[in-house]
């Protein structure tokens, strides 16, 4: 009798043990993604990406990654070539939003709609536009590119103008007031408001101003709108600034242009650009000018209007050639979609996050000595939330821009009127893209 009872007990025990373990087993069977990933980007982004991946190794010990750094702009030649060739593409690639749409159009990128879905509401709306095609997502936004006006306190002081951010904010609250300030500075100090070269103009200043007004190369129906009256008006404003000698003629990213930022006695008075310029100023372009700068919102088109715009900013994509999409997603999710990671990135490289849930952090409230103790993190975050929708980064951006830029240059060098320039650009874009 005892023996059979013992037997029954053992049986019950063993059955229950099997039941227990069989429930635990499936959960343990799902392994962490692993593998080696190749990431393409350009300097210095690999540094900020690594900063965002601080602590990644603890969570995913078996994932390794390798950075391949190209020259800026070379990625946009090499990636499509690799995608069309069907081989040689990286697992992950950094792409500026300006080129993102055209690469998404081309194909070869992994559809990450499901993976990104839970995070959509946490990301800055304007940055998602290029990541998306026909309701599907192919990229994750990384750095935001809110545009503001950097200004040199020492120049404003020399011109007899107030230098504290609150006053300057009011001083340049509209473009007309900005024009007056520029004239004052020119008269009092002989210095330029900023650089805007004529013959080799790259069109980005115009694009920033258009973005602020919600204009673009095309309108919401996809028709070419680069020669609309508002755009002409905006271009003419830039023309006024250059023709009256308020902007200098240095070509972007050349030594004369750098000198204008670095200089302690003959700098430019201001510069309208996105937040990523801050990291560049601090690290190699003008570190010796620390403490001389301030930042305010860019002027509005009219009093009380929008004072936000965007320029640049990138996103990460996963290619279809990636052998290890799970690992790739794990890396991107960790680096771009977690508050702490994007905060680390901000601390390291001044990159404004696209992940708006991170904006609560105290990190953004820090007084920045480069800007004489001004708090700039919150300002850029605030701008991020106000960037209007604009059709600048279209699927044919590279082509549209390359057709518009020479026309702008011809206008600025006095060879044609602004209306003619934009009409020519519109005609060329229509011919090239088949749009109306």
């Amino acid at each position: 009798m005892k023996k059979s009872l013992l037997l029954i007990l053992v049986l019950i025990l063993s059955i229950s043990m099997v039941a227990v373990f069989s429930e635990v087993a499936p959960a343990e069977e799902a392994p962490l993604p692993s593998g080696k990933l190749v990431i393409w980007s350009w300097a210095p982004n690999e540094l900020w990406l690594d900063a965002s991946l601080d602590g990644f190794k603890e969570e995913y010990p078996d994932i390794e990654w390798e950075h391949v750094s190209y020259g800026t702009g070379d990625v946009y030649v090499n990636l499509p070539l690799a995608l069309t060739a069907g081989k040689g593409a990286p697992d992950i690639c950094l792409i500026e939003n300006s080129h993102l749409s055209s690469i998404v159009e081309m194909g070869g990128l992994l559809d990450i709609t499901e993976k990104i879905q839970p995070y959509i509401d946490n990301l800055a709306t304007y940055k998602l536009k290029e990541c998306r095609k026909d309701e599907k997502y192919y990229a994750v936004p990384w750095d935001g590119s809110p545009v503001a006006m950097y200004y040199r306190r020492d120049v404003f002081e020399k011109a007899g103008l107030p230098t504290d951010p609150e006053s300057v904010e009011e001083l340049v609250s509209t473009w007309d007031k900005y024009y007056e300030v520029a004239k004052t500075i020119k008269e009092e100090t002989g210095l330029y408001m900023q650089a805007c070269t004529k013959a080799n103009n790259n069109g980005r200043l115009l694009e920033m101003l258009l973005w602020e007004r919600g204009l673009g190369y095309i309108d919401d129906e996809g028709k070419v709108s680069i020669n609309s009256p508002e755009v002409v008006e905006t271009l003419e404003f830039i023309g006024k600034m250059t023709s009256e000698g308020l902007y200098s003629d240095e070509v972007d990213w050349t030594d004369g242009w750098y000198a204008e930022f670095k200089s302690l006695d003959k700098p430019v008075a201001s510069y309208i650009e996105a937040s990523w310029m801050s990291g560049i100023f601090k690290s190699w372009l003008a570190p010796e000018t620390s403490g001389l700068w301030g930042i305010v919102h860019m002027p509005a088109y009219e009093e009380g209007g929008v004072r936000a715009s965007a320029d640049g900013g990138s996103s990460l994509i996963i290619t279809e050639q990636c052998q290890n999409p799970e690992a790739a997603w794990a890396l991107i999710e960790y680096a771009l979609l977690r508050d702490q990671s994007v905060i680390n990135c901000f601390v390291a490289g001044d990159y404004t996050p696209s992940l708006v849930t991170s904006y609560d952090s105290d990190v953004f409230k820090v007084k920045d000595p480069f800007y004489a103790g001004q708090v700039i993190g919150t300002m850029f975050n605030d701008i991020m939330l106000n960037i209007p929708k604009a059709n600048i980064y279209t699927a044919e951006y590279a082509e549209m821009s390359s057709l518009t830029v020479p026309e702008i240059a011809k206008y600025l060098t006095g060879k044609q009127s602004a209306q003619e320039a934009l009409d020519n650009a519109a005609a060329a874009i229509r011919a090239a893209t088949g749009r109306k």
Partner: protein
């Protein structure tokens, strides 16, 4: 009297001529040498010194730092790639061109003249016309990012065949006939009789090919993607610094490394080089 006048006349004429000549030659030569000089000293400067005002010609801290940086970025691999590709392409081209040159020079066969005209006409086809489909073909062959597209498509250069034909034509037929009587196959005649005789021509032509492939830019730019596979010219062009700026100092360092081997080869083989060029252009 007349003799003295003539000779004085000649002397002054010669003097005028001399002044004119040197006035022309020397500035031109300075202009020719200037870029080399500037390339070299820029490669020894720092970026800040490149565009300094006032102009710095000889930097006070001349250093090989740029070369060290460039070595870190893998310039030796690129140098090896460039050399390997140039050498392989040259050998292949010399082989095919001498073979075809022999065929055209020493054989009579139906259609020879027509085929030769096609050869000449093919030299007019600019690379621009074929580059796009050629690239797509390379994609389909899975040859992208390998050295094959750089070596195989150009392997039979029409210019080279023309050159070799002219050269081989001057070989007396008796030599070939004698070899044939001895029972040599056509191919071994090529190897044993033709090749040894045309070796000087091969050297000249080879130098030209080597230089052309070494300096080629656009095609390697399009084909070679991975940094480890690239050639020196491609490296020079893609050596951009932060935000797309040109790191001129580094570019100059790589440039120096790129042109030095060619200049050395040229200086050694000068005569062969110039013979090669003139032979192809003038004779025939």
């Amino acid at each position: 009297m007349a003799v003295i006048t003539e000779s004085t006349l000649i002397k002054t004429k010669t003097l005028d001529k001399r002044i004119f000549v040197y006035l022309l030659l020397i500035p031109t030569c300075i202009f020719m040498m200037l870029p080399f000089f500037w390339m070299l000293i820029t490669s020894l400067k720092t970026m800040a010194e490149v565009f300094n005002v006032p102009m710095i010609i000889f930097s006070h801290n001349m250093s090989l730092d740029n070369f060290k940086v460039v070595i870190d970025k893998g310039v030796w691999i690129r140098l090896w790639n460039t050399f390997f590709i140039s050498f392989t392409a040259t050998v292949l081209r010399l082989f095919f061109c001498s073979l075809a040159g022999y065929g055209f020079a020493k054989f009579r066969f139906p259609g020879r003249d027509i085929l030769f005209s096609v050869l000449i006409a093919s030299m007019i086809v600019p690379f621009a016309v074929t580059v796009v489909p050629l690239y797509i073909m390379m994609v389909n062959f899975h040859w992208v990012d390998t050295i094959l597209p750089l070596v195989i498509p150009g392997a039979a250069s029409a210019f080279g065949i023309f050159f070799m034909r002219q050269y081989i034509r001057s070989i007396p037929d008796e030599l070939l006939d004698a070899a044939r009587i001895d029972g040599c196959s056509e191919f071994s005649i090529y190897v044993r009789v033709i090749l040894p005789i045309v070796t000087p021509g091969l050297v000249s032509l080879g130098l030209i090919f080597f230089m052309q492939v070494w300096n080629d830019f656009m095609w390697p730019l399009v084909i070679l993607k991975t940094p480890e596979n690239q050639t020196l010219p491609v490296m020079i062009a893609t050596l951009t610094g932060l935000a797309g700026t040109n790191m001129y100092t580094l570019q100059m360092a790589v440039s120096v490394i790129s042109i030095t081997p060619l200049i050395i080869i040229f200086l050694i083989f000068q005569r062969r080089f110039t013979t090669g060029i003139t032979f192809g252009a003038v004779k025939g």
